[in-house]
Amino acid sequence: MSPIIETQKLTHIYSKGTPFEHLALDGVDFSVDPGEFVAVIGQTGSGKSTLIQHLNGLLQPDSGKVLFNGQDIWSSKAFNNSIRFKVGLVFQYPEYQLFEETVFKDISFGPRNMGLSPSEIEERVYEAAGFVGLTEDQLAKSPFDLSGGGKRRAAIAGVIAMRPEVLILDEPTAGLDPMGSRNLMENIRAYHRENNAAVILVTHNMEEAARQANRLTVLSGGKIVMDGTPEKVFDNMEALEKMRLDTPEITQVFSCLRRMGFDVPQSVYTVEQAKSVLLDGKWGLGNA
């Protein structure tokens, strides 16, 4: 399968030619297949945010290319403008971008910019609101009257309403309570499933990355240092720790068990997996 979005030798330098010059991305080759769910992890300043802003054409590469369906997104102005609607980007704390009188109007901002007809806009707003679990009541309210979690949902719906083929979310659950986080991730999964959209989740919550994604990409110092299934990436605990990244707590527990001499598998990264390993294993813990 050819990737829906791909970067080739992507390099970006901030504040070129000033004392603040900073190499944020250094020859990054990153690609996502249609319908894939990828988590990008890395510590603060590793270049995650810079990378995702290249994917929808907000930032222009200093060198290298960004391809959408094999076409360079900077090849023509018209194509570049349409990319924003195909690659939806939800920034960190997106609730700070709400501005309209009602939640409905705010969610329709994206579709309106696409030049859709009023009936199409309405359909999309209701669909997006459905995905994030906003009620009709809430759509009529001022976005500033919603709770923190509600604002977050409204802002994410504003991007989903454009029906992007690639949905990128930067720390979508930061600052939400565990229940709210779980619900929101469920909503995102639903969008992923029903529209067969590719999702790129930027996070430094390893549990979340492990639970959601089929593939993990680890960024460090503007380079991709690891890329693969969660099993493969979390197998490499020492390397992750060197980059000041955690492995999920349950993986750490299992690594502890191994050090204590138990012959448990190393690549366990969700509680569900751990449970089945322990119950089915030769430990007989299930019978005890």
Partner: protein, 267 residues
């Protein structure tokens, strides 16, 4: 788009100019501005320019950075130049219809533009090399005598340092909001003036909301630490005049004397 605004930006560094007492730097900058208005002819401007160039070199501030402040002023500079060229009476060089360009006009326009450019460079050099906190510390200390006539100097300094402190934060915030709205297809660069003005709403509303939120949070944080109006407050970093500061003052005196002498002879 907003990266072009360098107003009030500070470039951290550890040069002799950076380390100077902010009070000395403020006084020297004021002196520099006054001298620019006293300067008459090439020699005095040359002397002031020499002072500026030497300071910039010592502070490791490049010409490009220093001149980045010109951009927003281009229109003012052009208007000043044109008005001065056209409306200065004197010996006409070229004339057509009712307009005549005079020799005096050209020289006035030239010096006026030079004056504006030097003015901008000089004041920017101050903010480039002095952190906002030291700058307001310096101002507060210089304005202290006004306390005698009940001017709330400390409060003013505090308000100013808060305002200065939040300029970069708000610029960063604006950048983020612009990016977020662009990601939803907002277009700020096409259409007529009315369309463009309307396109600002999605930026301004969130920006104001967040500015008020920040102000509120800051006020709460200050209350929590029992902040009060500066009665008997002591400073963490007390300003001390050092040897380098006396040297800078000496340079300032030489500059003053030099310019006044040149002015006296009409140079």
């Amino acid at each position: 788009m907003l990266k072009d605004i360098t107003l009030g930006q500070y470039f951290p560094g550890d040069t002799a100019i950076h380390r100077l007492d902010p009070r000395v730097k403020i006084v020297l900058t004021v002196e520099y501005i006054v001298l620019l208005f006293l300067a008459k002819w090439f020699f005095s401007y040359g002397l002031i320019l020499l002072f500026l160039v030497c300071s910039a070199i010592t502070a490791h501030i490049g010409a490009k950075t220093l001149m980045s402040g010109f951009k927003p002023l281009i229109i003012i500079i052009i208007v000043t130049a044109v008005l001065n060229i056209l409306y200065t009476p004197g010996e006409p060089l070229v004339s057509f219809w009712k307009i005549s360009i005079t020799k005096e006009g050209i020289s006035t326009a030239f010096f006026m533009v030079l004056r504006i450019l030097l003015l901008v460079c000089g004041t920017f050099l101050l903010t480039y090399t002095t952190s906002p906190i030291r700058l307001t510390d310096g101002m507060e200390s210089l304005l202290k005598p006004l306390k005698k006539i009940k001017v709330p100097v400390h409060e003013l300094a505090m308000m100013m340092s808060i305002a200065l402190r939040f300029i970069p934060t708000l610029i960063e915030e604006t950048d983020k909001i612009i990016s977020a709205q662009k990601a939803r297809g907002a277009d700020f660069t096409s259409g007529n003036i009315i369309r463009r003005a309307k396109a600002l709403v999605p930026i301004l509303v969130p920006l104001f909301v967040s500015a008020f939120r920040r102000a509120d949070e800051l006020a709460t944080a200050m209350e929590c630490r029992c902040y009060n109006n500066g009665e008997n407050r002591t400073k963490l970093n007390v300003l001390v005049v050092k040897r380098a500061d006396y040297a800078a003052i000496a340079v300032g005196v030489v500059l003053l004397a030099g310019t006044l002498i040149f002015r006296h002879y009409g140079l």
